[in-house]
Subunit: 193 residues, 2 copies
DNA sequence: CTCCTGTGATTGAATGACCAACCAAGTTTG
DNA sequence: CAAACTTGGTTGGTCATTCAATCACAGGAG
């Protein structure tokens, strides 16, 4: 028999919380349900996570880690990230569904809101870095990279939402169009008056 | 004393529900709170709206009406819509906040989900019509209009989300960039004005 | 080798609060 | 008067959190 790590139950609870939250939805999920899914007693959930809020915060952190798409740099990295996103849309619908829900919760829960906000800022920052690298490769003005990142990340969120809510939504087509628009906008031709 | 319209209380409840839901959040809002805000008895809420779900559905319909941005057609209509959206971001933060929350709720509530889904499809359809008009004005292939609409509406949702969650988000810059990308993408790739 | 004991892990029941929905009785209005 | 409207209390249930009690086990004492 392998050694019984003290964090074994903690991990089971975390996975169960993710499963129940994404399956049943935030407002339909009780600590009791999570404990049942994890196969432990209700009290143990509060032993490892002081409150429901802290547990959901830990789950949010877990979800964010499942959504990483950055595997390379420069133009190739940008193209790869869009491809990775298309794969994630197929393989991680639960994580996306839960993320969308926690966005809503975060609007009125200080801690969860801070978690979501930090995640969005970080992701937008990654996109901005990629945009700057692409612009540098083309030896053009790097100043629009922030605006581009705002739009690209908005598109990512919006595609996630439409895909989650509408099963008929053509996500691949949308991602391809977003990629084309983003990479053509990086050219200096898109200047505004 | 003015004449007491029978629909007066119903309207008061609807407005109160919008106010409390957007201020406190969905899972922190009870029928009791809404009745108190409206200045009526608890039972009256169930008299006019059979259930909490039906009430929220009516509020969702109300919210969607506050988010209309289409005032003209063709390229001018598209530009006007983006400008109207920028105004809405400043004037209707409550409606946007509530809409985002109901997106999350709709993922696990059949009726609210159907309401959100129909709204998204309709909005995307409006954008697609505008895109087709713009492409027609330019006498180019209208086939990419669906993909463009998917990306533009994704951008709209994503900008709403980022603006609601992050007070420091520069929404005007993002909308301008989205407009520029959308209107330049309408050109067939390779041609530049 | 056995017993003892302290500590963290785990249990399940109790607490106190809250809520959606229902209802029976009152009020207004046409 | 009858129908629509309004009231506020009741009901049956759920929930997060707390807590006292039990368990597993490691390691020191005898």
């Amino acid at each position: 028999m392998g050694p019984k790590l003290p964090s074994d139950s903690r991990e089971k609870i975390l996975q169960a919380a993710f499963a129940v939250l994404s399956r049943e939805g935030y407002e339909n999920t009780s600590i009791h349900d999570i404990a049942e899914e994890a196969g432990v007693a209700q009290g143990l959930v509060h032993y490892y996570f002081k409150s429901k809020q802290k547990l959901v915060l830990a789950v949010l952190f877990e979800v964010c880690q499942k959504m990483n798409v950055y595997t390379a740099e420069g133009t190739a990295g940008a193209l790869a990230a869009f491809e990775n996103f298309k794969v994630l849309l197929r393989t991680q619908p639960d994580a996306h569904s839960l993320y969308i829900q926690l966005m809503g919760v975060g609007l009125h829960d200080k801690e969860i809101g801070a978690g979501i906000r930090d995640n969005i800022r970080m992701e937008r920052g990654h996109v901005e870095d990629l945009a700057r690298q692409v612009l540098a490769e083309r030896e053009t003005d790097p100043s629009p990279s922030r605006a581009i990142a705002s739009v690209v990340w908005a598109g990512v969120i919006g595609i996630m939402v439409q895909k989650s809510i509408d099963p008929e939504f053509n996500a691949d087509e949308a991602v391809d169009a977003l990629a084309a628009m983003a990479l053509s906008a990086v050219y200096p031709s898109g200047q505004r008056a």
